[in-house]
């Protein structure tokens, strides 16, 4: 019971911290002092109190979409276990629901973008759904590998499989899948090298350009939802990268938080040492994700 409370509390509170860590890392690399680690929390509080400017062109989808998106991501977050603990929601087949809840959030984000009738946001939405056609197969290859390793179709058991396995036979495919999932993490959360969360050149962006017209509390919900998504997908990746368990609950939770912060640092490092790819090359990166996860699948089925 306590673990479920901690799970929900972390899911609600921790995500904005990750972005703070990422930005701090980037600042360190650039030799700046950078914004405070808690900056996104301040931003969210400020946005919640602001008024909203809504384009006359939009319909109810525009205001509803951020909320539906956040709900879907939160629900997905309840299915992903953190560290060696059980997730609050676990049942046979929850892995499909997990993937499709992310798709639901994509549906409404892109629809809200197109609701504004702006060419820029249309461009972002078109890119988002196109790249998803490459990331979705990669995700399912990864899920297949985990399902095969654990012999289970419950996300908790599947993600705990690397912990239990300890067999060298599956190590190779796990390494490949970890690489693929890291690319997915960057792509799905619109980080460099796929997307640049900082640029103001709308023509070069995917996610940021889709939310160009949202403001005030709606923008706050979107920023918060994006942070939660980063948190949830990192939690998935952590199971494969750090399959450790100490046995003591307190130690395991602190270990999980530490690992999460390390992931944020890793993302920050990638963003600092790489430039954003040209839009036409993004697909090659995502195909690399498919290749990694697909070869992981092939290795496991020998």
């Amino acid at each position: 019971m306590t673990n479920i409370f901690i799970h929900i509390a972390l899911l609600l509170i921790m995500p904005p911290l990750l972005l703070g860590v990422i930005n701090k890392t980037k600042a360190l690399f650039a030799g700046r002092r950078g914004p405070p680690v808690l900056q996104l929390y301040y931003d969210l509080i400020k946005l919640a109190r602001k008024g909203v400017v809504i384009s006359q062109v939009t319909t109810w989808v525009f205001t509803a979409a951020p909320v539906i998106t956040l709900t879907a991501i939160m629900l997905a977050g309840l299915m992903v276990p953190m560290g060696p603990f059980q997730s609050p929601v676990a049942f046979t087949g929850d892995l499909i629901l997990f993937a499709y809840l992310l798709a639901l959030s994509r549906f409404f984000t892109t629809t809200a973008a197109l609701d504004t009738g702006s060419a820029f946001e249309g461009m972002g939405a078109a890119r988002e759904v196109t790249f998803a056609c490459l990331s979705e197969p990669a995700l399912f290859f990864a899920l297949l590998v985990l399902a095969k390793m654990s012999g289970s179709l419950v996300l908790t058991n599947m993600l705990h499989a690397p912990l239990a396995a300890g067999s060298q036979a599956s190590a190779a495919s796990l390494v490949l899948v970890a690489g693929g999932l890291f690319i997915l993490l960057l792509a799905e959360n619109s980080r460099i090298p796929v997307d640049d969360p900082n640029t103001h050149l709308e023509l070069t962006m995917i996610h940021e350009v889709m939310v160009l017209d949202h403001s005030g509390p709606l923008l706050g919900i979107i920023l918060y939802g994006a942070a939660v998504k980063l948190f949830v997908l990192s939690a998935v990746l952590l199971h494969i990268v750090f399959p450790f368990q100490s046995g003591s609950a307190l130690l395991d939770w602190s270990l999980f938080v530490l690992e999460m912060l390390l992931t944020a640092v890793a993302v920050g490092v990638v963003e600092s040492v790489m430039a954003r790819l040209q839009m036409r090359n993004v697909q090659h990166l995502l195909i690399a994700a498919i290749l990694l996860c697909g070869f992981g699948f092939v290795l496991l089925m020998r």
């Binding site: 008024g51 909203v52 400017v53 809504i54 384009s55 006359q56 062109v57 939009t58 319909t59 109810w60 989808v61 205001t63 909320v67 956040l70 709900t71 879907a72 629900l75 046979t92 087949g93 929850d94 892995l95 499909i96 629901l97 993937a99 499709y100 809840l101 798709a103 549906f107 892109t110 629809t111 197109l114 609701d115 504004t116 009738g117 702006s118 060419a119 820029f120 249309g122 078109a126 890119r127 759904v129 196109t130 998803a132 056609c133 197969p137 399912f140 290859f141 899920l143 297949l144 399902a147 095969k148 012999g151 709308e202 017209d213 005030g216 509390p217 709606l218 699948f297 092939v298 089925m301």
Partner: protein, 666 residues
């Protein structure tokens, strides 16, 4: 037994529904209303008959005297037939009510009566196809169905493109029928009768069994629209009146699926490649179907291609279940076939909803070209809401019904990871990846269609004032949408019947150990769907209320500082799909016409791109043209005089008579 009689009378009522109108005047509105009332009555009779049959005995059969030399009038009802009867009773009746507003006889003097007549015939014939237990009887009603559909698709036959689509459909459906004739003749040879009841299939040689299987897939696959047999589908669906498209896509395609399932139930299941072929065909049909859909800018052609995609998903489920029969895996059969059958229901709900919706849109803006729509949600909010619901459902997203059936098929495909050694689990597992790709493409497709039609700024002439359709058109859509929600939250209401139908594919040995509930815990899906709807509903209400309280300024969309944006600058349907079309250009072969700029001050020019059907335009039509050219010499036999043709028949009959009496054939 009584239930089956009620279903038979329902079929009679539906088939007869259009006849009274034929005696009325051309502009009589009453005649059309009578037809709709008869259709609804027929559907209610049929549904109550179905309920009576299912709650009393379940299985039942009737055989009536029959004066034709072959076959017999035997009909029957089992769980499989019941599953397919439900959409047949629901969708056409709703469509006929919709037709009262959409295709008023008073406004369509030339074809109103014919439409009512053939619409009823189509619906009634489909009922008979599903309950026929004799292959001759089935073929008779199959042809009535196919021909009625031809006349319906060619309703506006004064337009050349409608005539062309109609002819292509007619040729395709009869090519399928030829295969069916061969199939049933061969079946008669090996089983000794025309009846469609189980026979001792163990005695079939592998070659015969394979031939029967291939003939089944081709013969019924033409109707279902499995690629590459789908060539007739986009044109016929796009050019038919919208409620006819709804019936054709929502129900008639499923008759092909039904035929495949009925025949596979009779045929032996020993060959692994049968299932593998179906799984592969399904995956290809699904991926390419939705890829073609993304390339379309005609709203109804897009929906038609999306039907092909959904048939692909259904075929994947059937293929998985076929492998389950060979491998004696209960989970493959129940999840694969169960998911496929549930998807049959789901698709008949949301695709009919979307086609009816497209009719309302066309009434409002008088075009099928999505690039000339936009911003309609402001003018027709209820239609927009219903369309959005249908779009979410068809993408297979939670919390609506499309998710449940795709979830079942996914679970079946993922069960392969529990297989022992020597199982074809990689092939099945890759099926799950293919389904994921289909899902992602479908999402792109339906975001595109909803957004370019309903969102943004209008791209049509400003003097048009579109509005929500009248109640007759509105209520059928509302009922279909309600069905999508109910099956999404409470799939439990339909699953027992579907499980019963899927159980027909299990050996007696397999039926003894029933399915563990843990295989597909649907109650969790219900719970998640409910939470999703309630939580996001409450949250949306709170947010919308609160942001209104604040001093909100209302202005136009931010266009990055550009002062005078126009609606033409929005992303169109074509531009939204451009990246994906390019990725699939190896299959889609888009035709692009773009200006070449040579002078420093180029004159006005245009850019256009279309995605025609590759199989039809690059393979079928050239072949037909070539064959037509090559066979000119045979025109010698064709002089256009009936007496000569009768002479040919006489000569052939005499020849056959000699053949028979001389005993050459024996």
């Amino acid at each position: 037994m009584n239930g089956l009689w009620m279903i038979l009378s329902a079929a009679g009522l539906m088939m007869a529904s259009g006849f009274p109108a034929g005696f009325g005047s051309r502009q009589s509105a009453a005649a059309q209303r009578l037809a709709a009332v008869l259709m609804v009555l027929g559907s209610l009779t049929g549904l109550s008959g179905l309920a009576v049959a299912l709650f009393s005995s379940g299985l039942c059969a009737i055989s009536l005297p029959w004066h034709l030399p072959w076959g017999s009038f035997s009909v029957g009802l089992d769980a499989l037939s019941a599953v397919f009867l439900i959409p047949v009773f629901i969708v056409p009746a709703l469509g006929s009510v919709y037709g009262l507003g959409y295709w008023r006889q008073t406004e369509h003097l030339d074809n109103g009566r014919g439409l009512s007549l053939f619409y009823g015939l189509l619906a009634g014939a489909m009922v008979m196809v599903v309950i026929a237990r004799d292959s001759v009887l089935l073929l008779i009603f199959w042809e009535i169905m196919a021909l009625s559909a031809f006349f319906l698709a060619a309703t506006e036959n004064e337009k050349p493109e409608v005539r062309l689509a109609g002819w292509i459909y007619l040729v395709a459906t009869h090519t399928g029928t030829i295969c069916l004739l061969a199939l049933f003749a061969l079946l008669r040879q090996v089983s000794g009768s025309f009846t469609l009841y189980a026979f001792d299939a163990g005695s079939l040689t592998a070659g015969i069994a394979a031939t029967l299987f291939i003939l089944t897939v081709i013969g019924f696959g033409f109707k279902a629209g499995i690629m590459p047999l789908h060539v007739w589908l986009p044109g016929a669906h796009a050019n038919a009146p919208s409620h006819v498209s709804a019936v054709m896509s929502g129900v008639m395609l499923k008759m092909g699926v039904y035929g495949i399932l009925r025949m596979l139930t009779l045929l032996p299941a020993t060959e692994m490649w049968n299932g593998e072929l179906l799984l592969g065909l399904g995956a290809v049909t699904g991926i390419l179907g939705i890829a073609f859909a993304i390339g379309q800018s005609d709203i109804k052609r897009l929906l038609a291609y999306s039907s092909i995609e959904n048939i692909g998903i259904i075929t994947m489920g059937i293929g998985l279940a076929m492998m389950g029969r060979v491998l004696h895996r209960v989970d493959f059969i129940l999840l694969g076939l169960g998911g496929a059958l549930l998807h049959v229901w789901n698709h008949s709900l949301f695709k009919s909803l979307l086609f009816l919706n497209s009719g309302a849109i066309m009434h409002a803006v008088h075009t099928r070209d999505m690039n000339r729509m936009g911003g309609l949600a402001k003018f027709m909010p209820r239609t927009a809401g219903l369309f959005l619901l249908g779009a979410v459902a068809i993408c297979g997203l939670p919390p609506l019904n499309g998710f449940v059936s795709e979830w079942l098929i996914y679970l079946g495909l993922f069960q392969s990871v529990n297989a022992g050694n020597g199982m074809p689990w990689p092939a099945i597992g890759i099926g799950a990846v293919a389904l994921a790709l289909i899902g992602a493409l479908a999402l792109a497709c339906f975001v595109k269609i909803y957004s370019t039609v309903f969102l943004g700024q209008p791209r049509f002439a400003s003097h048009a004032s579109p509005h929500d359709p009248q109640p007759f058109m509105h209520y059928p859509m509302f009922l279909l949408a309600a069905g999508c929600v109910v099956l999404g939250i409470l799939p439990q209401v339909g699953l027992p019947l579907i499980q019963q139908a899927a159980a027909q594919w299990m050996d007696p040995a397999m039926q003894e150990n029933p399915l563990p509930v843990s295989l597909a815990p649907v109650q969790w899906i219900s719970g998640a769907a409910l939470v999703l709807i309630v939580v996001s509903g409450i949250a949306v209400t709170i947010i919308r209320k609160n942001i209104r309280r604040q001093p909100a300024v209302s202005i136009g969309t931010w266009s990055c500082g550009y002062a005078q944006p126009t609606p033409r600058m929005q992303y169109t349907a074509t531009s939204f799909g451009e990246m994906l079309v390019k990725r699939f250009s190896w299959a889609l072969r888009p035709r692009t016409r773009q200006p070449v700029i040579t002078e420093p001050f180029p004159s006005k020019s245009g850019f256009s791109t279309t995605v025609p059907d590759t199989v039809l335009d690059r393979i079928v039509l050239p072949f037909v043209r070539y064959a037509g050219h090559r066979m000119m010499k045979l025109r010698l036999l064709q002089q256009g005089r009936i007496s000569i043709y009768l002479l040919y028949i006489l000569i052939i009959l005499l020849f056959l008579l000699c053949w028979e009496s001389l005993g050459i054939g024996r």
